[in-house]
Symmetry: C2
Subunit: 327 residues, 2 copies
């Protein structure tokens, strides 16, 4: 149902302020409302209901900065919610990149996932910088030729500044997301053919069997598997997180954040205008039969966000609102 954005924000803040500081509550709320406003419901307020609601998380220890150089920082999140720590990491790479041209931050030991990577990299690109991030999650996806879960669903996101809105890429490297399995299971539905295998390596359309087995890479082949492995290294060993391991489900999620100032190589304004021109060239190219518009990555959610912002109201699942006693 439609709820006023300002009212929703107020209620969310009061929920998070029970366990977190005002500043922390603000950061987490900002992410969750962005996801809802962008129509990315699978990465939004759904995190507040279920077995381990985000607002009830008790971090194991305070956030620790384990390494700190001019260009870099390694953060041990102490089990704090990922959207909180990842927002801090995003601000840090922006600051470093603004000062030195490049900033890199590794985060490990968060509670659960960041949600949508688009949120963080878009923030970086809005500062005129190139944003990159990737995350590893508990082992769920097999490597090409293997039938064991090895890599996480391992999403990555990239954003480029343009003269208009940033160009934002955001994708999982698995053929289906973990949430896709949960949803199908809850609804008693089958999953598509050729996205997952059971524990013995046979293709399955049963989400429960897929959970015990493995997901396939997004291209069901070796290139996608290679990209999944790449994320596993960058958001695993490189950030002091776990890797190829589903035994530490709660503790060792990892993420890598990078911000790069294009002026290290070229004029920053020229870069932005070239990116705008590149987008225009893609959108104006000849379309495949049946295609009315060439959509760029992230375009749909950006349109949804703007529409919601203009209306002042956001559509939230009534079940969630009731459970949180917001209505």
């Amino acid at each position: 149902m439609k709820i006023k954005i300002t009212k929703l924000k107020e209620k969310m803040l009061s929920v998070f302020q029970e366990k977190f500081t005002a500043k922390e509550a603000e950061i987490i709320t900002e992410y969750l409302i962005w996801a809802e406003m962008s129509g990315i419901k699978t990465q939004g307020m759904i995190k507040l209901i279920g077995a381990e609601p985000l607002q009830d998380i008790e971090p194991k220890h305070a956030i620790k900065i384990e390494r700190d150089t001019k260009l870099s920082q390694l953060i041990n999140a102490g089990g704090a919610p990922a959207p909180l720590v990842s927002s801090i990491a995003t601000d840090t790479v922006i600051t470093k990149s603004k000062q030195y041209g490049f900033g890199i931050v590794g985060v490990h030991n968060t509670f659960s996932s960041n949600g949508s990577q688009a949120y963080y990299v878009e923030k970086i690109a809005k500062m005129g910088l190139i944003g990159f991030m990737c995350s590893r999650s508990p082992a769920a996806t097999s490597a090409f030729g293997s039938i064991d879960p090895l890599f996480g669903t391992n999403p990555f996101g990239v954003a480029f500044p343009t003269q208009e809105e940033p160009l934002v890429f955001d994708m999982a490297t698995s053929a289906i997301t973990w949430y896709g399995l949960i949803l199908a299971k809850a609804r008693g539905e089958k999953i598509p053919k050729n996205v997952a295998i059971d524990v013995n390596g046979a293709i399955t359309t049963d989400p429960a069997k897929a959970m015990e087995g493995s997901l396939l890479s997004f291209d069901k082949s070796y290139k996608g598997s290679t990209i999944g492995a790449l994320v596993e290294v960058l958001a695993g060993p490189l950030v002091s997180s776990a890797y190829i391991d589903n035994k530490t489900f709660k503790e060792e999620w990892g993420s890598l954040f990078i911000a790069l100032n294009p002026n290290l190589l070229v004029d920053a304004e020229k870069f932005k205008s070239s990116c705008s021109d590149l987008i225009k060239k893609i959108k104006n190219s000849r379309k495949k039969k049946g295609v009315t518009e060439i959509r760029l990555p992230g375009e749909r959610s950006k349109t949804e966000y703007k529409k919601t912002l203009t209306s002042g109201f956001v559509d939230i699942d009534e079940v969630i609102l009731k459970k949180l006693k917001f209505i």
Copy 2:
């Protein structure tokens, strides 16, 4: 036919020294012999025969460094052969990354392509650094939903240091390489189904029609198309190269090189041992029916390289050797 590596090198050097300095000849020769020894014949000495042999290239002007900061450099190659300039760029990112933790170099205006990206990123990883590179080439690949050639075949490569040999990833983001088309056409063969479309957007198995039309992304879907676009920006506007353009076929090839010291975030030795362990876990995982070994990216060419090195002889196409008057 088999030829002694030392003899081949000597002959190659004398060929390149006609137009290039001794140092430059050494750099180009080193790349080409590496490609041949690694069994990557499509990216090796084949470049010395054909319409525009590499050894006959007359650069338009000397290599110009157009931007130079502690962390970065932008190089205008002046139409020099890509393997020469890219080797210089590789050395530069290594030096910068060794000193500051991070180095980034953009190259534009090379003659033709770098060949195999694995060569450059492996060099970086052998220095204990994480290597990344990507290149854009003349427009050949369509974006998802489009039927026009927009992106190049846009390969990227990544290499991680381990306790043993580096882990090297190297892939084109198109479903077939341009060289794959040339070869099929020369042999009068068809190309696989569902890798390319003709000028009107219909799937074609005729390589000539594919050349006039477009290649598809490696996954034939939107994620692969997104990664192709990503490379187009990183090795296009970010390095002052052309983008979405096949009119400047010879002039505006672009490449981006990055070296990152893992010690910006974690202990470098720990990182190497974790990468070795990660590889072991992938290789030791349960195999799909019919798979006897899980091959890592780059494994086959590395094995071939070692075998060739040990024997002292490399197998070169007789047609090439005759044309170059090496035999």
